[in-house]
Amino acid sequence: MGHTNKVSDLQSHTGVEVMRCYQCGKCTAGCVLASEMNYPPSYLMRLLQTGTKPNLDKVLSSNSIWLCLNCENCLGRCPMEIDIPKMMDYLRTQAIKENKLHPDSKPIIAFHKSFLDSIKNTGRLYEMGLVLSYKFRTFNFLQDLSIAPSMYLKGKLHLLPEKIKDRRSMKRIFGQTIENAKTDNK
């Protein structure tokens, strides 16, 4: 597959036209996490514009795509109305697909997975379960140990999950979306 196809895939999936960017840098100037990123958003756009394989690899294996919080400050101010957050969503799924994951992605993916597992099983978020599952995924057992008891005392933590009645619909929704995506990938 030629390298430029990936950029056109990006466009067909998200509607983001990378060539619209003229690197004014307004996104970067207002990004709360730009300083933490390997490549700030405007730089990332330029990498994509070149369309070369090495530059695309740089993008997918950077921490930038994982550190984006989707706060949409960039989109709100972008003079060319480029939907960078949507693009980041897409780049994340691509990074997973091509298994080019920056180490910074691990806890973030783990959290998202734990979150979705919780909904898949019960239909609603089971915060206690989420935290436990996340800890198993990251082996970071000490994190948040300090606040959990206070949360419980303040009535903020249920020990048992709330479940919706129609849990079969949840199974179906997950089955037809996430699971489908997995088979597509193969």
Partner: protein, 666 residues
């Protein structure tokens, strides 16, 4: 049978690159009624035109179709060629093979077939064409110039100097426009007022110029050479024939806190005021919205101070009518205010200024007498940030175009600041530096190299206030996107140049086209930059698009030449594209039964009632008749006529019917 000549142009390769022109000529040559069909490299060239002329004579052609570019481009050229060969010019039509075919399609069988169809269509039309005589109309040799900025001033002076009368209408109480507000001008840094005011005085004193300030165009009727302009003279409340311009009334006016338009809101003025000291005319008007007398019915202090009794409280707006032959639009531009920028504080921070406001701060005649001081506390800003492309090149804000002048004036502003505040630090956030122009690039380099202005390539995401400072969050994209935060004392936005307010309505009054941003549209982007789509109306200056002073002046002189050329003849020849009501031999006289639906539909009141009388003088019927002086040839009446009794020359029912039938008949 018709003898039509068809001439297919290659337009260099513009047409022949995608259309098989030989095939077009070949196939058309086989059409019924086509006596001669050829193709040639440049039909509009001299040899090309000669081909047409010779063919007209040789084959005795009674119709010509030229398959070339848009008729909006070369129809007059080819019609003239036909006329020179003795063929009535209105028997010549053009098929648009370039703009509507070769340029918009790839090279293919279909493209050539479409070209054939387009030519066929016009061949069928030409078969139904009738010889027409052009209509001659007299020309009123007086010009109307709308807008008294540098564009209007220049155009007026140039026209007046050719010996023709000019009426100059200005909306504000004084002429001068934006140029009078500028401090110094790039790239020479000479004082704007010093070069402008002599011209303003010249306008006021020129015997051929009639100046109406505080006036607006109410309506414009008619057509090229014969416009009738209604001008509203807004009530000045001051009798200019007696007023001496002593200014005593202004001194005594108790309403002093009105934001001054001339100072872009940074200074104040009184309710009776002269916008600025060098105003022309240098006599005051009363701003009725803010005047105590008009607001509350009491005050009249100005009247008491006026020794010549010039105050006219009850004066009403007056509407005058002027007959003119041409109009020059020179209504200029405006700049976006700081309130247009959510990310820069919605205009709530006093020390965030527009470029125009900075001009006033830097101007010796401005509110701070040329010292750069913060509007909030009067302090001299030690750190100043200029943001270029504020609103321009920003499709999200609805302004995708480059405002053209900002790069240069921002460099000038930074330079002026460094000259005035020696220990100050100035930063310019820019995207690109566009300094195309004589000595422009050198000027910007001077700002960077000699005046140590810090140019940072990147846009600013946000400006907010904290502890009396303006926090500017920008970025240096040349350092890979490093965030730059500056605690500034003043921020100047090079806000986008936009169409002047009311330009859309004005364009509609004049029937001239305008672009999506409400700038007036030129008739052709390259070859007719000062003409509009409406004959007799010309453009000068920034009302067409943002432009700097030299360009504006050049354009104004160009418009003036167009007007002078129009006025060089006593008569003007008009296209005979007008409606006609059919006339038949008695006893029918006409198939028109006089329902006068055309009369209600006509935008120009060109339909008249005609009483058709028999020999004995008795009324046979009322029929419609078209006044050819008033008719503009839109043909709306034609489509309404149930009995098809009215038709429009050049686009007759027979002609358009033949076109439609040919197009699909296969």
């Amino acid at each position: 049978m018709s003898k039509i000549g068809v001439f297919i142009c290659h337009c260099g390769e513009n047409i022949s690159a995608t259309v098989d022109v030989e095939r077009v000529a070949r196939e058309i040559g086989g059409m019924e009624g086509v006596a001669h069909a050829i193709d040639y490299k440049y039909m509009c060239s001299d040899p090309g035109q000669t081909f047409i002329k010779e063919a007209v004579k040789k084959y005795g052609l009674d119709g010509v179709v030229v398959g070339a570019c848009s008729p909006r481009m070369h129809e007059p050229t080819f019609r003239r060629a036909c006329a020179e060969a003795g063929l009535n010019p209105y028997l010549c039509e053009m098929a648009n093979l370039r703009e509507h075919c070769s340029w918009v399609h790839e090279k293919s069988e279909e493209t050539t077939e479409k070209a054939i169809d387009l030519v066929k269509m016009l061949v069928e039309k030409v078969k139904k064409n009738k010889p027409l005589d052009s209509i001659k109309v007299p020309v009123t040799k007086k010009a109307l110039v709308i807008g008294g900025g540098i564009a209007g001033i220049q155009a007026s002076l140039d026209i007046a100097n050719t010996g023709h009368k000019v009426i100059l209408v200005e909306r504000d109480p004084s002429i001068g426009g934006h140029m009078s507000q500028l401090s110094e001008t790039f790239p020479t840094l000479d004082c704007s007022q010093c070069i402008l005011t002599p011209r303003m005085v010249e306008v006021a004193q020129h015997p051929n110029i009639k100046l109406y300030t505080y006036a607006e165009l109410e309506s414009l009727e008619g057509f090229i050479g014969n416009f009738k302009a209604k001008i509203r003279l807004k009530a000045k409340s001051v009798n200019y024939s007696t007023c001496t311009g002593c200014g005593a009334c202004i001194q005594k006016c108790p309403v002093k806190k009105i934001p001054s338009e001339f100072n872009a809101g940074l200074g104040t003025r009184t309710a009776i005021y002269v916008p600025f000291p060098q105003a022309v005319p240098n006599k005051p008007v009363i701003d009725r919205v803010n005047c105590n007398y008009y607001k509350r019915g009491a005050c009249k202090i100005c009247e008491k101070t006026c020794q010549v009794g010039s105050i006219e409280w009850d004066k009403e707006d007056e509407i005058i009518t002027e007959e003119v032959g041409a109009v020059v639009l020179a209504t200029g531009f405006d700049v976006k205010g700081t309130d247009f920028f959510p990310e820069y504080g919605y205009g709530q921070y006093k020390d965030v200024l527009t470029g125009l406001q900075f001009e006033r701060l830097a101007s010796a005649s401005g509110p701070t007498f040329g010292e750069i001081r913060r509007p909030s506390d009067g302090a001299v800003p030690k750190k100043i940030v200029f943001i270029a492309c504020a609103g321009s090149r920003d499709p999200a804000k609805g302004i995708p175009y480059c405002s053209k002048i900002c790069c240069m004036y921002t460099a000038k502003h930074a330079m002026l600041y460094q000259h005035k505040v020696h220990d100050g630090e100035s930063t310019v956030f820019y995207m690109d530096i566009r300094a195309g122009g004589k000595n422009y690039e050198e000027f910007v380099r001077r700002a960077i190299e000699e005046d140590t202005v810090n140019y940072v390539r990147g846009r600013v995401a946000r400006v907010y206030e904290k502890n009396g400072k303006l926090i500017v969050k920008g970025v240096d994209t040349l350092l890979g996107g490093e965030q730059v935060e500056i605690e500034a004392d003043m921020v100047v936005l090079a806000t986008a140049g936009v169409a002047n307010c009311g330009s859309e309505q004005l364009a509609q009054k004049l029937h001239v086209s305008y672009d999506p941003y409400h700038f007036f549209a030129e008739a052709h982007p390259k070859l007719k930059p000062v003409e509009t789509n409406t004959a007799g109306i010309y453009l000068a200056g920034a009302c067409q698009a943002p432009k700097d002073i030299p360009e504006t002046v050049g354009m104004a002189s160009g418009a003036a030449v167009k007007v002078a050329a129009l006025f060089s003849n006593d008569e003007l020849v008009r296209e005979p594209v007008v409606a006609v009501v059919n006339r038949l031999a008695p006893p029918l006289y006409s198939t028109c039964v006089g329902c006068f639906m055309c009369e209600t539909a006509c935008p120009y009141n060109a339909i008249e009632h005609e009483e058709i009388k028999g020999r004995d003088g008795s009324l046979i019927r009322n029929s419609a008749r078209v006044n050819q002086g008033l008719c503009q040839g839109c043909g709306t009446c034609v489509a309404f006529c149930r009995s098809k009794s009215i038709d429009i020359q050049g686009y007759t029912n027979e002609q358009v019917y033949a076109e439609v039938m040919s197009l699909l008949n296969d």
